[in-house]
Each structure stands twice: as C-alpha cells, then as structure tokens.
Symmetry: C2
Subunit: 208 residues, 2 copies
C-alpha cells in the first residue's frame, strides 16, 4: 500500500514545489498590497518570473491562488490565540498573546495585509471561514478570559473587545506600516517602542 488510495494524489515533484512556492510568494506581494480585484495575474507572473499560462498550469485561476493564500495564512495567524492556556497565569498568557501577535505583525506584514484587505472588501471569500472557525475560537477564548475575570485574577472588562483591541493594536503595525514609517522614522522606536507601550497598556488594564 504505497499510494493507491481512492484519490491518487502523487507527491509533488521538486519543480512543482519550487514553482508553487514562487507563485504563492509573488501572489502574496500583489494581493496584500492591491487586494483581490486590484491584483493581476500578469503582475503575479512577472514577479514570480513565470509566464501567465505557466501559472495557470499550477493553479486553476486567480481565485484559487487567493484562497490558497488565505487558508494558509489563517492557520498560522490563529495559532497564538489557540496557544493561550486556560491553566496558565492570566496576565502572562494575555501579554504573551500580545507579544506573539506583535511578532507576527512585524515579521509577516504581508500576511496581515492580505487578511485586512479581504475584510475591507467585506470578507466575500472568508466569511464562511470566519463563521465556522474564527467565531468559535473567539467565543471560546473570550469565555476563558471572562472566567479569569470572574475569578478575580484580572480586572474586569469586556473580553471580546479586549481581544479585538489586541488584534487592532498589533495589526496596526503591519497594515499601516506606510504611515507608521512616516510618523516614526526610526525603526528602533517603532518596534521596541510598540512592544513596550502595548505591554504597559494591557498590563494596566488587566491588573486588578
């Protein structure tokens, strides 16, 4: 029984892996800055160093590339939220989430912008995913935080809006980079300053 299952999906060749990676990377650049409709296959092809028909050999169309990127992103993106441990120290857990989220915004800004673009457009391709996956996770984490509050371990506030505010403040440094760079030209101040500030902001909120 080597690989003869109903769906005989053979392992992708080295070339396939390389080119699919190239395409997805180029597409991430284009989709994340111009949004779905503003992105063109020609630009993706140019950036990937492949011809347009060649790209359509690997993906069935523009939409499939976009969906692939979105799915891939959501997985890594939600991880830090999943990692929040209900048994851990509440303030530590939440601050650790803040810091992980900030790391991602700084290290993977394109992924962040891809998501923001999709939501700005009204989440036409993501909505089912938001309802099926994000919402349950969100509710669950909000419930965990609420329990912490009711147990008097952290100060009371609205858990849902707390999560949103963490998302918003960290995401800001990815999405609005073009603005932030103008307002705070020195990278040091931008990144380390952001971390220190956010830790202070949420520490104060959470400390009873």
């Amino acid at each position: 029984m080597t690989d003869n299952d109903p769906a005989p999906k053979k392992a992708p060749s080295r070339i396939q892996q390389r080119n699919r990676t190239r395409i997805l990377d180029a597409a991430l650049n284009v989709f994340s800055t111009h949004g779905y409709r503003g992105a063109t296959l020609d630009q993706i092809a140019r950036e990937a160093g492949l011809s347009k028909p060649n790209i359509l050999y690997y993906f069935s169309g523009k939409e499939e590339i976009h969906v692939t990127l979105l799915n891939r992103m959501m997985e890594t993106w939600l991880d830090p939220l999943k990692d929040m441990d209900p048994e851990g120290d509440p303030i530590e857990e939440i601050l650790s989430y803040v810091n992980h989220k900030l790391d991602m915004a700084i290290e993977l800004p394109r992924e962040g912008r891809l998501f923001t673009n999709e939501i700005l457009q009204g989440a036409p391709r993501m909505e089912p995913y938001l309802i099926a996956d994000l919402k349950p996770l969100f509710d669950d984490r909000a419930a965990v935080i609420l329990r912490w509050m009711e147990d008097g371990k952290i100060a009371k506030s609205d858990p849902a809006h707390l999560i949103c505010s963490i998302w918003a403040t960290t995401q800001h440094y990815a999405d609005m980079a073009a603005q932030t760079v103008v307002l705070m030209p020195e990278q040091q101040k931008r990144e380390d300053g952001a971390r220190e500030f956010l830790n202070q902001l949420f520490s104060k909120l959470l400390t009873p």
Copy 2:
C-alpha cells in the same frame, strides 16, 4: 467686481453640484471596498446612475476622483486630533479624542476604509500629504501629551504609540466591520461595548 478675477471659476450650477456629489458618493463606496486599482469607472458610473463618459465630464479621470476623496476625507479626519486643547484637562482631552474618533469610525466607515486602503497600498498618492500635513500635527500632539506626562498630569508612556493605539483601536471598528459583525452579532454590544471598553482601557493607562 462680480467674478472677474484671474481665474474666472464660475460658481458650479445646481446640476454640477448634484452630479459631482453623486459621483463622489458612488466612488467612495467603490474605492473604499476595492481600493484604487480594484475600483472601476464602470462600477462607479453604474452606482452613481450616470454614464461613464458623463462621469469623465465632471472629473478628468479615475485618479482625480480618488485624490478628491482622499483630500476631503483627511480634512474631517484630522479635526478631532486638532481639537485636543493643550490647556484642557489631559485625561478629558484624550478620552474626548478617543470618543470622537470612535464616532467617526462608526458614522463614516467608508472614509476610514478609503484611508486604510490607501495606506495598505503603500500610500502612493498620500505620502506627500502624510509628510507635509499629518506628520507635523502628529509630532505637535505627541509633544503636548509628553508635556502633560512630564508635568505629572497623566501617567508616563510613549505619546506617539499612544496616539497610534487610539487610531488603531477606533479605526478597527470601521475597517474590520465585516469581521466584527461576525464576532459580535449584536450591534448594541459592538458599539456601546466598544466605547465603554476603550474608555476603560485608556483611562487606566493614563491615570497616574
């Protein structure tokens, strides 16, 4: 001397006013959801109830419409920040800014998304404006807040990142509406809850 100055720009007729308004309103819908490149003149025309050539009778091209919208938006958008009074009560002033900004995000979400879209794209049309207008205002307000901190009137933190976090948390409710609606289906909880939460968040940060 009725109107014979060097540039004899006659007053726009009623028709002109009405149609320019229609066009800008339709364009705001389209640009704010699809970004500059994703927006099409055809769609703007359809939404405005005018023909495409008719639109190009009022505006010289796609870009002029976009720029007009951006300029108009920036003016109203920066007002609340300008209104912060150095002589007023610091916490009151800052919280009032938070609340005004939140009002705008809730009442004028399209304008907010228009701006976010432009920044996501790297601010190609806005950067000069950011440098010439936003930056000086931003630095000035940061300086005001810093003075308040040094005078011991509010707790110390990074003023620049404070302003950014206010921007981020309030803007979130405009930009990410499609997500927020899924996560918090009841409008009441979304809007009033946001206000209460943000007031609490920034009160705690600022109280010495």
